[in-house]
């Protein structure tokens, strides 16, 4: 790239800046909104000069919003906990079920394995609305509606195909001879899976887990229908800010900022392992 002319460098810099501005601006704007009152947010014309206030955050964290229309109870912090709990549990269950399944699909060719794997992927083709109504009725009949257990189960529709198909590719990329060599050197099938296949596929498992977590965290429609106030995650809880006395833009913005933080932290943390795993140069091709 050292043959690049100055003009090219400048144009490239401008292009990159434009793209970053385009994608980051909404987040930046929301970040600013979270420190403003509804009045300053809604003034015309908008301005980035304002007196910052922490009332939005205070209201979310204490759970009480004092406004001209009176005091309003906010479930935000318990919603945040629900999101974290539901997403974490869904990913843990998804990994426990999905990783061995991915290994089976990737390594052991059995009759119908492709069909089963494809069926699991096909869960992602249908819009959630398609299954929501029958699911709601079933769940009410068997008493799973509005339970963490039921929600985590339904979240498997989101996380399981994702984990299965990403991790399967990683297992397939491990040369089978490495596992054969380990087995012929005196180890059983289970030991080979634990000591060879799992560590070598770890970057893939980490990537799949992270993606699955983000997908589960961002889920809206399942939780909206299947969970009531005490079980609902932030995505649904944010609806509470659309009140009879107006839309609380400040609180919505602060809620968004707060609910982005856990996934952002997780992504930054997992990134280390992703890069590490990829640069390990596990297998020279």
């Amino acid at each position: 790239m050292d043959t690049q002319s100055t003009l090219e460098k400048v144009l490239r810099g401008i292009a990159i800046t434009a793209v970053i501005l385009f994608f980051m601006f909404p987040i930046f704007w929301i970040f600013l909104m979270s420190f403003q009152t509804n009045e300053t947010i809604l003034r015309v014309p908008p301005s980035i000069v304002f007196e910052p206030t922490l009332t939005n955050y205070k209201a979310l964290i204490t759970g009480r919003l004092e406004s001209t229309a009176g005091a309003l109870e906010i479930e935000f912090m318990s919603n945040l906990f629900n999101s974290a709990y539901l997403s974490t549990m869904a990913v843990i269950v998804g990994l426990i079920l999905g990783v061995p399944a991915a290994y089976a699909f990737g390594r052991l060719k059995f009759r119908g394995s492709e069909d089963i794997a494809f069926t699991l992927l096909s869960f992602r083709f249908a819009p959630p609305l398609l299954v929501l109504l029958p699911l709601t009725i079933y769940f009410q009949q068997i008493g799973l509606a509005n339970t963490y257990f039921g929600l985590i189960w339904v979240y498997q529709l989101i996380v399981l195909p994702l984990i299965l198909w990403i991790v399967r590719g990683y297992f397939e990329d491990i040369p089978a001879d490495i596992e054969y060599a380990y087995r012929i050197a005196g180890h059983g099938f289970w030991a080979t899976f634990r000591k060879i296949a799992l560590p070598l596929a770890m970057p893939g498992i980490a990537a799949a887990g992270l993606l699955a977590f983000i997908f589960a965290w961002n889920n809206f429609i399942f939780a909206l229908v299947l969970a009531s106030a005490d079980k609902q995650p932030v995505t649904v809880g944010a609806l509470a800010f659309v009140t009879a006395s107006g839309i609380q833009y400040g609180q919505i913005a602060a809620g968004i900022v707060l609910s982005i933080l856990p996934t952002l932290a997780l992504a930054l943390y997992a990134q280390r392992y992703l890069v590490e795993g990829l640069s390990l140069g596990a297998v020279k091709g």
Binding site: D177, I178, I184, G188, K284
Partner: protein, 374 residues
């Protein structure tokens, strides 16, 4: 305890359902004596690697029986078969260095460290990888990885050593050197090894017996010399040997105490009948047509021989390969001196009856080698 290290009896391998799936290995029989090196030789897709993997336990045996050291192993997992295996491709554990890769099985057996080190160093020096023992697999070349995989197999105490194309990625010079060393190593310790290869030089150099495979079937199982001198069928005859055996279709005739092979283009090879044994007469006169094989080394140029016209003449540095138009086909002959013939020259060739291999053209089976029945 019998003196067989490996007995493969009537083994079939199907990929997919039995009888309707892909039939990769067909009623395969092979006994390997303790202390022998056997090569499975064939082109790719001939079933040799499938056979090896069934012995190792990575592929299920669809039908038949495999015994290692008098123990039927069909249903045993690889860990219980006490075999060692060297792999063709990338099979080293990527996270540990070459030394630990090689020592892996010994460490699992809890041998004293000094003994492990001594054995690793010995086998590493033999395979010329002593200088890379402390590197991780990603830092060494494909050929070095392959030798490390070979070392990892040879260092073990196993009933049987399975070597899957163990030298495929090595440079020719190194290959020649290591062939000798590996053979010595195996023989000195009285180990039994089964080697899969598509390189006949490697099979000839290393093996006591060669199993020639094609299309899932064993074609011949014999010593390298036997295979070269007495190929069991047309496939083995043309597959083994470089350049390959010349083969011509011939009609057989007999008159005035002479036997004639009538080739295409009105060319006849006439021999006195008494050069062939009586049984051989009977066998070939019963056929209207035979396939006549002769190795390029056995063809002589003589004044007044059967006419042929030179198509190419290549000097390979130590031998001449001459291809000539003969009986509407191509005849290849090899001479050890530089042949002074040019393209288009007419030459005379002589096929000595003791160098002829006669095959049944329908079944491909050998009828005779030289002057005697097969």
């Amino acid at each position: 305890m019998s003196d067989l290290a490996l007995e493969i009896t009537a083994v079939d391998k199907f990929y997919g359902p039995i009888d309707t799936g892909v039939h990769a290995v067909k009623s395969f029989d092979m006994n390997v004596a303790r202390g022998d090196i056997v090569a499975l030789l064939g082109s790719s897709g001939c079933g040799k690697t499938s056979t090896l993997r069934m012995v190792a336990g990575f592929e299920e045996v669809s039908r038949g029986s495999i015994k290692i050291a008098d123990r039927e192993v069909n249903r045993l997992p690889p860990v219980q078969r006490n075999v060692a295996m060297a792999f063709e491709g990338y099979s080293l554990y990527p996270t540990v260095n070459v030394r630990d890769n090689i020592a892996f099985a010994l460490k699992a057996k809890r041998l004293p460290q000094a003994q492990v080190d001594a054995r690793v160093n010995e086998v590493a020096e033999m395979l010329e990888i002593a200088d890379i023992l402390d590197r991780i697999p990603a830092q060494v070349s494909g050929g070095q990885q392959q030798r490390a995989s070979l070392a990892r197999a040879l260092i073990r105490d196993a009933d049987l050593y399975l070597l899957d194309e163990p030298m495929g990625q090595l440079e020719p010079q190194l290959r020649t050197l290591l062939r000798g060393r590996i053979k010595h190593f195996i023989k000195e310790r009285g180990l039994t090894a089964v080697l899969v290869t598509h390189d006949q030089t490697e099979a000839n150099a290393l093996a006591d017996k060669i199993a020639v495979m094609e299309d899932g079937e064993m074609q011949q199982f014999a010593s390298p010399a036997e295979i070269k001198e007495r190929p069991a069928n047309l496939f083995t005859g043309t597959f083994i040997g470089e350049p390959p055996m010349n083969v011509f279709q011939a009609k057989v005739g007999r008159a005035d105490g002479r036997i004639g092979f009538h080739l295409a283009g009105d060319l006849a090879l006439i021999y006195p009948a008494e050069v062939f044994s009586a049984e051989l007469h009977k066998a070939i006169l019963g056929k209207s047509e035979v396939a006549l094989g002769v190795r390029p080394y056995a063809v002589r140029r003589v004044e007044g021989g059967a006419p042929a016209q030179v198509v190419t003449n290549q000097w390979l540095g130590d031998q001449s390969h001459i291809a000539a138009r003969f009986a509407e086909g191509t005849l290849v002959l090899v001479e050890h001196d530089r042949a002074r013939v040019g393209v288009g020259d007419q030459i005379g060739v002589e096929l000595n009856p003791r160098d002829l291999h006669i095959f049944d053209p329908d079944t491909g089976d050998a009828i005779s080698h030289g002057q005697e029945l097969a």
